[in-house]
């Protein structure tokens, strides 16, 4: 019985506010005659036809594939570079000013330049996503690697734990809470850039679809696209939370143990 109640409470906590917001939207927009702000009822009505056809495979899927590719590449680059920079003070001293410079450039500003260099294909879009996602991952990894416990550094030295074993069981694990923080920030950056990279000179994708709806004054469809984006965000963040709960189970446990002992 108690399990049922806590289960119910969790469901309510999860969907309660979204339902309230949707209801507010529904009633507030019910009598709307502004073309750009159609009633929610109309938005929901066009939703299935707009998204459950070819658009799913021709626009949503390509977008998600580019996001995945860009995000994964950013993860690899960010973690590898972050470990290299975080492990060596010399490297850090050399690289830090350049990093500050590069980080200050907003990735959307790179879009026109990348078009010129890499053409208007998928490569450019993926590069834009990488250019945005890599920074939170890189900088957090550097922090995490710098913050390794000196006692554990001595432990590894004493017990000859070195090379790949040290990287795998010590450095990456120790930095994993920060790496996950960076990865979470990068995920939301990635979704934004996925759309932005498709707004110009594009032939498919969510951003492209948005642009189409806008130029054709299909406002209900446009709004339904906003819902799609929101849903993608929710699903990806749930997925992320699942992975994180696996990777950082020890971290949560340790923190809980510290709290109770204080």
């Amino acid at each position: 019985m108690k399990a049922v109640i806590t289960g119910l409470r969790r469901v309510v906590a999860l969907v309660g506010l979204p339902i309230v917001l949707l209801l507010v939207w529904w009633f507030a927009s019910a009598d709307s005659h502004t073309a750009a702000m159609p009633p929610l009822k109309r938005i929901l009505k066009v939703f299935p036809d707009t998204w459950f056809g070819e658009r799913l495979t021709d626009d949503v899927l390509p977008s998600l594939i580019r996001l995945t590719e860009g995000y994964c590449a950013a993860l690899v680059i960010g973690i590898v570079a972050g470990v290299a920079i975080g492990s060596s003070r010399t490297v850090r001293a050399f690289v830090e000013p350049v990093l500050e410079f590069l980080r200050a450039i907003p990735p959307p500003a790179l879009v026109p330049i990348l078009f010129l260099i890499a053409g208007i294909g998928d490569t450019t879009k993926i590069l834009v996503i990488i250019a945005g996602c890599v920074w939170p991952i890189l900088l957090n990894t550097v922090e995490g690697v710098r913050g390794v416990d000196p006692v554990l550094v001595d432990t590894c030295l004493t017990y000859r734990v070195s090379g790949l074993l040290r990287l795998r069981t010590f450095v990456l694990r120790s930095a994993s809470p920060q790496i996950m923080t960076g990865a979470r920030q990068a995920l939301s950056v990635g979704i934004i850039l996925m759309v932005i990279s498709e707004l110009k000179a594009s032939t498919d994708g969510l951003g492209y679809t948005f642009e189409q709806f806008q130029t054709r004054f299909q406002y209900p469809q446009m709004w339904s696209g906003v819902l799609v984006l929101g849903l993608i965000g929710v699903v990806l963040s749930l997925l992320f939370r699942f992975v994180e709960s696996r990777v950082l189970a020890w971290h949560r446990g340790q923190r809980a143990a510290e709290r109770t002992s204080l």
């Binding site: 006692v151 001595d154 030295l157 004493t158 017990y159 000859r160 734990v161 010590f170 340790q254 510290e258």
Partner: protein, 262 residues
Amino acid sequence: MLKVQSLRKVYDGHGRQVEALRDITFSVNPGEFVCVVGPSGCGKTTLLRLLGGLIAPTSGTVMVEGRPVSGPPDGLAIVFQEYGRSLMPWLRVRENVELPLKAKRVPRAERAALVHESLAAVGLADAATAYPWQLSGGMQQRVAIARAIAFQPRVLLMDEPFAAVDAQTRADLEDLVRSVWQRFGMTMLFVTHDIDESVYLAERVVILSSSPTIVLEDLAIDLPAQRDQLETRSSARFVELRHHVYEQVQKAKNRSAVTPVV
């Protein structure tokens, strides 16, 4: 086995010089159990880190097994003062103990046997699958000791391992360390600020002064090899020896009080 000659260590950093050790000379024979006793902050940890090849001396020599130390020597293990922090919180107890063996490329089956044997030796066979943060301080300390035993070191250095546990646990751990030493026959250097503990455990006690640190006395402990918390500690010889050590430390304190520190 261990040999330290005119050892001096000055920390130099942030515009401040700290002379942690002034002039230390002593040696430890193979298979011997030696305690180094000295007041808080006299440089005991510094001495162990020098012996473990984790830092370099300012002057003087450190020899382990006849070779000058220039990095962590083979076959030497350390149980660190911050034992809790020396265990990796993302690894289970078993994996923590196993890690140095993996680094040594010990075959899997042998690894499992060593881990099991050493955990059993410290009475933690049941805790193998726990995470370190799920254990009490005294248990964590025993895990650190088990890890050192499993490594099968020829030289084992211990840094005030029992400073942070209650009196009863401490007595148990003292007997554990004695029995481990008798069973595995390694050369043992045990650092403590506790005079009673040093006399109870060792065959020889090296008494350090407070800073600027020198060796005050190298004292043989002629107590029977079989020691017992009640019997040994109440024996006339024990009381005599501890009285003597206490007097030395006290004398040194008064002397350093009149000679100004440079």
